[in-house]
């Protein structure tokens, strides 16, 4: 088999894996938006908090980073609920723009609080059950163990959230609130509690993602922005508020980020040396925003959007 097929397969696999990891990041954002129509700019900062929670727990207690996921989940749930009752609740009284600026402020607050506490240095985990491990699945495709675990967990989390939303009373209550807040309240569903729950679940899912991601990416207080941007692109692509939409859009975005790999495939296939000179890796995030822009123009509610 030629090297070009190896490159194609590697790019496909690594794009899909990355997509699944990103799906976990985007899940919380889409839940919060779905239930409350609030765009949480601080989403990436929640992820950062999760990363620090995972990293510090693992280093502090000397346990494997994978065991810190529940800790990160609890931290995220509490963070979400506290943010809701302490801050977001009051924003809801104001106009949309106040909500936007409010979560923007929350983003800055969390970011600089982290800077104050942790300093601006990059920190990374270097030891752990899965850290740095990878295996060859044949045909030149090498899969990193941490990404595979993250991808697996991501699928599980999506299934769990989907079941929660569609098969349980509390999930139906959440969905009802999402669809029609007043009607749900007349049926005896407390909007307040549902909102808090959405923030709790959203927060927990993203901090768990963070604790998993810190197994292969380093963390610093400014890391949130990159993920917020990508999560926004994913959620917009999939349709704001749509859980399956976020899932599929993540896969698309993961593949888009592997465009340099596909480019290399074409370079070998066509034996075009000039293609090797194009700095494709420098633009790997650009295509994500190009896709975001195109979807905004062509289909503003996203691929699977059901809210307007």
């Amino acid at each position: 088999m030629g090297i070009d097929v190896e490159i194609l397969l590697s790019a496909l696999v690594s794009g899909l894996l990355l997509g699944l990891v990103l799906a976990l990041v985007a899940l919380g954002l889409t839940i919060i938006f779905g239930v409350m129509d609030i765009v949480n700019f601080a989403h990436g900062e929640f992820l950062m908090v999760g990363m620090y929670a995972g990293l510090l727990t693992a280093q502090g207690l000397g346990i494997d980073p994978l065991l810190t996921l529940p800790v990160a989940g609890v931290v995220g749930f509490l963070l979400g609920v506290v943010c809701y009752f302490g801050f977001i609740k009051f924003l809801l009284r104001g106009p949309m723009v106040a909500q936007l600026l409010g979560t923007f402020g929350l983003m800055l607050f969390l970011r600089y609080l982290a800077l104050l506490i942790f300093g601006s240095e990059d920190r990374a985990l270097h030891h752990g059950l899965l850290v740095g491990k990878s295996f060859d699945i044949g045909m030149g495709v090498i899969v990193s163990a941490t990404k595979l675990a993250a991808a697996g967990l991501s699928v599980a989390a999506f299934v769990a959230v989907w079941l929660l939303m569609n098969r349980t009373r509390i999930g139906m209550a959440l969905t009802a609130t999402a669809l029609n807040r007043s009607a749900a309240r007349y049926m005896g569903i407390s909007t307040e509690r549902m909102n808090a729950l959405a923030w709790g679940i959203g927060g927990a899912s993203v901090t768990i993602a963070g604790a998993l991601i810190v197994n292969f990416w380093s963390v610093n207080p400014f890391i949130g922005l990159l993920f917020t941007m990508i999560a926004f692109a994913i959620v917009a692509l999939g349709g704001f508020g749509s859980v399956p939409g976020a899932f599929f859009a993540s896969l698309v975005v993961g593949l888009i980020m592997e465009i340099p790999g596909f480019w290399d495939f074409f370079m070998f296939t066509f034996n075009a040396d000039w293609m090797g000179k194009v700095p494709m890796t420098s633009f790997k995030y650009m295509w994500v925003y190009v896709a975001y822009f195109v979807i905004m123009v062509v289909r503003p509610r996203g691929l699977f959007g059901w809210k307007h």
Binding site: I3, I142, S144, P260, G261, G276, M280, T281
Partner: protein
């Protein structure tokens, strides 16, 4: 209320007492202030700490007498020609940010009234800071930035002690050429076809992008093929597509210019993707940072890095051994390329001030252009320090030279850098090919 007042009084008294016993700045009036701008926080904070420790050690040796160090500047207190004035280093943190660096330089010049400036490690920051110095007519000695362009601007207030990347990159290609000629210690001549194809990944600011261009041009000159050259952001959190792209061209040698956190991430990603180059070389910086070795451990055995100082130099050079011992006692580990160059930068400052015998910028400028520090005074293995006053590379030290080190594991399992190039100084058999992952 009364008790509150009492507590307040007690606190006040304690503070007053602390204020009285704590030593004030020792005769601050006649100290010569040098502003030192380094990345003390941010992605390169680890190197920043090294640089600062190296600079502080040099100041300490200048300001007091140390009989056990055979350097002229250790024989007297302070700068003799300035009435034994002490050197005071005023440190500032540029966080790797060129704009911030320029602001700090202005502050140092206008508020702190420094006599001169040193720094800044990141070439991109040195570029803006030196422009400020040029504008105000304040001398700047650059100890640790290696972008060749910095000395190609014809500046009158800028001198650089470290050799730059043209020298270092040429060393790399001389090394590769030597490898094909059987000059490397313990390795038979490698057929050129086996190391023909190169791929490079460099961080994309001033420094890395210049290194990338140099690799391209030297490869042409020496008859190697650069199959891929990538520029990436040093602040990247993920380099898997970059590594994938490098691996795709199946290079024989992978060449990098990386700062600390990205160098670690790069190596981790190379390992995760089981990269198999025969040569893995880094352009100093991150590849030499202590945390690079501490975090990656066995994974870097066989990795090459260019450098200007290896602990092994201490065994060849007496004065290097003496200073290294002193440094180890203070900091807990050996000097690195960063700390050794910061040390040498402050040493150059002291020598220039000694020669100038004045703190007027014009006198300092004259002295810097005329100075010659002999090799036996330096801890780095150079022929000395003398700045070019004409030609293309104005202000550049023309007596500097580079080395290439290789991480190897000794019998006790300790990983350290062995000298691999220049071949005649080699301290161990070269590990070739790179063991891979």
């Amino acid at each position: 209320m009364k008790s509150m007042m009492r507590v307040g009084m007690v606190v006040f008294c304690v503070l007053a007492v602390i204020g009285l016993i704590a030593p004030g700045p020792a005769s601050a009036a006649d100290a010569v202030k040098i502003g030192v701008i380094y990345p003390l926080t941010g992605g390169a904070a680890a190197e920043g700490r090294e640089l600062r420790a190296g600079a502080e050690l040099a100041a300490e040796i200048i300001n007091a007498v140390y009989d056990n160090i055979s350097m002229d500047m250790a024989k007297s207190q302070g700068i003799k020609s300035l009435g034994s004035a002490k050197i005071e280093l005023v440190f500032k943190d540029h966080e790797g940010n060129p704009t911030l660096g320029a602001d700090l330089a202005k502050k140092l010049i206008l508020d702190d009234k420094v006599v001169g400036i040193m720094g800044c490690y990141h070439s991109a920051v040195t570029k803006t800071v030196s422009a400020v110095c040029e504008q105000y007519g304040i001398p700047m000695i650059n100890d640790s930035s290696t972008s060749p362009d910095l000395t190609k601007r014809g500046f009158k207030w800028f001198w650089r002690t470290t050799p730059h990347d043209t020298t270092f990159t040429k060393d790399l290609f001389d090394f590769l050429k030597g490898l094909t000629e059987g000059k490397a210690k313990g390795v038979k001549a490698v057929p050129k076809a086996q190391i023909q194809n190169l791929a490079s990944a460099c961080e994309k600011t001033e420094w890395g992008s210049n290194v990338s261009a140099l690799i391209e041009s030297f490869a042409k000159e020496y008859g190697f093929t650069v199959k891929k050259s990538i520029l990436y952001a040093a602040k990247s959190t993920d380099l898997s597509s970059e590594v994938g792209s490098l691996k795709a061209v199946k290079p024989d040698a992978m060449l990098f210019a990386s700062y600390a956190s990205d160098a670690i991430l790069m190596l981790k990603t190379l390992k995760a993707q089981k990269a198999q180059p025969k040569v893995l070389w880094g352009q100093d910086a991150g590849f030499e940072a202590p945390e690079f070795k501490d975090t990656l451990r066995d994974d870097i055995v066989g990795v090459l890095t260019r450098t200007v100082f290896l602990p092994k130099v201490a065994s060849v050079k007496k004065v290097a051994g003496e200073v290294d011992g002193f440094y180890q006692k203070k900091v807990g580990h050996s000097l690195s390329g960063a700390s050794a160059r910061a040390f040498t930068g402050v040493q150059a400052w002291a020598a220039v001030l000694e020669k100038a015998g004045s703190i007027k910028p014009l006198d300092i400028q004259k002295a810097a252009n005329a100075i010659k520090i002999p090799a036996d005074q330096l801890i780095v293995p150079w022929q000395g320090i003398q700045f070019a006053t004409s030609g293309e590379d104005i202000g550049q030290n023309i007596l500097g030279s580079g080395m290439i080190g290789q991480y190897q594991k000794d019998k006790d399992g300790k990983i350290s850098l062995e000298i691999a190039y220049p071949f005649d100084l080699a301290t161990a058999n070269l590990i070739f090919p790179f063991p891979g992952y």
